[in-house]
Amino acid sequence: MADTGFLPKEKLKDFLEALSKDAVVYAPALEGDIVLFKEYSQGKDLYLDRPANLGPKSIIYPQCETLLSFDFKKNDPEDPKKVDIELKTESNFANTVVFGCRPCDAKGLVIYDKVFIDTDTADPYYKERRDKTTIISFACEAPFAGCFCTAVGGGPADTTGSDVLMTDVGDGFFFEALTEKGKAVLKSVPMQDGASYKEKAQKIKSEAEKKIRNPFPKDATEKLSQKLFDSDEFWEKVVSKCISCGACTYLCPTCYCFNITDEKTKDKGERIRTWDACMFNHFTLETSGHNPRPSKLKRFRNRVGHKFLYYPEKYNGVIACCGCGRCIRYCPASVDISEIVGYLKDPKQK
């Protein structure tokens, strides 16, 4: 039976090592005082006590990747004016397991999927990595500073986007496979049957859910106030303190805006894609100097709009926010997006 499983805590490393045989395994590790996803290797410390500062998004959607490389070739020695350009793409992404991300992180990937895969111009780079990656999420027992997953339709043990969900049941971890990929992973490693832990896990999960704060009504159909959304005064009030950096967007599991730039040396170069942030002025700046979103108020409004209005409008009401709370937790000015959305949903709040 591979749908559920149980591992005593001390066996977790064996499990990871077994996984490492067929795949590159990324797991959270402590780097100084922060938690980052690192390639797991034997004997490396695993750190599951809190969510990573930067989720696993960079594994599947790297901050910088080469879209294509080009070579300038002078094939005809008689004609130095003739330069042929050879384009190349490379794909060498190995099978990968992301271990120990949180359910919100996994949910973020589903929000990416709609953009990058469910379209007539699917992104082959993303798709390849997504297809080759198995996600083993770790259910949260309690919220962390700033979390609000339940308000955006998720939860501390939400299964969206995960292939396997893992729950700490005290003396060990309870695993449930959620997809075929997940089943395959559980099958590949010898594991105790987990059926007997199912109930305990369920209880832990629902206890956790109760602890999550609800900054605004969970009901996704509750519309934002368009009037308030359009009001510059409102945005000035809530985001004057924003310093227009990219910490919120870069750490966000659902932000995916990117930039494409060319870099070249004498006779070759590459076209790279890098994360970009809608909070930066230059993001929309045009050559003429004109900027359609010239102020941080407009840019912040677009960010909130994108997550809570535009994306849902395009994708069937799905909110492009997983409530992980990173943008709140790590904001230099402690700007709280959940508070802002709360106002927009209920303008009568003071």
Binding site: F72, K74, P80, K81, V83, T265, K266, D267, G289
Partner: protein
Amino acid sequence: MRVGVFICHCGSNIAGTVDVARVAAEARKIPGVAFATNYMYTCSEPGQDEIKAAIKRENLDRIVVAACSPRMHENTFRKTIQKAGLNKYFLEMANIREHIAWIGNDKELNTEKAIDAVSMAIAKVMQNKPLHATSFKINKRVLVIGGGVAGMQAALDCADGGLDVVLVEKSPAVGGIMARLDKTFPTIDCSICILGPKMVDVGQHEKIKLFAYSEIEEIKGYIGNYQIKIRKKATYVDWEKCTGCGLCMEKCPSKNSYDYFNFGVAPTKAINIPFPQAIPKKAKIDPNYCRQFLKGKCGVCAKICPTGAINYEMKDEIVTEEVGAIVVATGYGLLDQNILTEYGGTRYPDVISGIQYERLLNASGPTSGHIERPSDHTEPKTIVFVSCAGSRDKSIGVPYCSGFCCMYIAKQAILTKDHIPDSQSYVFYMDIRSPGKGYDEFTRRAQEEYGAQYIRGRVSKIYPKGKKMIVRGADTLLGTQVEIEADLVVLATAAIAAEGAAEMAEKLHISYDTFGFYVESHPKLRPVETNTSGVFLAGACQGPKDIPSSVGQGSAAAAKVLSLFSRDMLESDPAIAQVNTNACVGCLKCLKTCPFQAIVEDTLRSGKKVAKVIETVCAGCGVCTSTCPCGAIQLQHFTDNQLLSEVSAICQM
């Protein structure tokens, strides 16, 4: 983009140690290079024609010439490509001669280095932008600094050429050193007699505005448009009223004032007219000696002055003049005799300097032309001249030859014999430097006709013995020690840079050498130009010079000014800083560091505060560009991207 690359052999200068064909072949491989070749003498006419032909034939839009230093031929090739229809800033040079071929023997390494140099030039030229000069009006007035013979000559030539001249002289009268000389070599004609008329011309010329007893306070601006602040020092005599009658000088009770004109040979009055032929002939009070200033009471001159010109309250006054070019003729100074301790410094009154002796010889000098010993006013019979008193002496920082001493010593020996027929002159010399028309003959006459005894050797010591001065030196020709009992010793003290020469150079933004003499643009071909366009040199400020050379340079500088002013408009160098107002954040750090005050604050229509470059003031140093944190102010032709492209052409791991 189609870059054409021309690798010059420079005969065997380059081709001898660089494989030029390989450099061309490697250049040809670089994307963007449409044509690359090597050529025997690229700077020759056929070489330039080849570039022009290739531009047309191959449709080239940018050119790289790998040859000698751009300091040598950049302008040549800029003109070449301009003639072929390209903007001249689409040229880059790779210096593969001075920086590669001539300094390394290993052909393989030299070739690799040359390939890199060419790659860098190609990378840069691809970033180049066409630049266009803008024209601006020239203010056709000229400032001449220094009223010595060189400055006067320049001023007169310019004025006669129809230019308005502003002549600034720091002492109370024009004439400079020449006005103090008795006779001139090799003709023995009276110095003031030939200079006097020139001085009068300067004083009377309607095109010359003379500021005597004035100094340059500040120079702002650039070629064609300078603003000059002149400090008119307080003379305490209203020169509008002063008639130069000399009554004040006669009655002044302060008789022990230092006489600058006579180099302290004898004292003068606290209020004085420096010399009878002075232009302007105006009196001036020396407050360091005047009783009115020192003790607060006297007022004799004020009482006696028939025109009421005396004004003890007078203050320095700053006036501003606008000119389009500057001739610097600030002359030279003389080594402080005190440094020459082996000659007693200035401790012995009968050891004097050549210029002091000149004043003793002069009929209008303090002794009315009677040679007498300063100590006891007796007529000296034995006179020793010591040449190279400081000159050609590394130990005191004057390794160079002062140039004119040999000649004036010969002259003074001759004059001495004329004045005192029973006198005997001795001349200690190291080498006799007399390379001028009639010069060598002149030194021979001093020896042969006037009996001056020339002793080749250095004087090691001068000391008093009774009333005499003992001059001890070597006679290197005879290989013996000589001691001469002299009545008077005359030292040919070294010519050095004028006092304040460095400060003046800093005001002018021109360079000066280790000794403080101003540096010309090219020692052979641009002897009166400086590296700062619009500023020219005349006379001994560039290095010790005799009168004919100084006069020649005065005229030469004037000719340069006249030719500069033959146009109404000048073209500014477009390689200057430019502000991208989209990127500029108006922090104005550039304004703080600009050495030329070429940057001002500007407000755009949108209300945005930005920096603005005054095109004609910007000299193109680029300090602003490396100050600007956001890269908004870019020195054209040396932009960040241009320099970065050169860096990345050679630094790619």
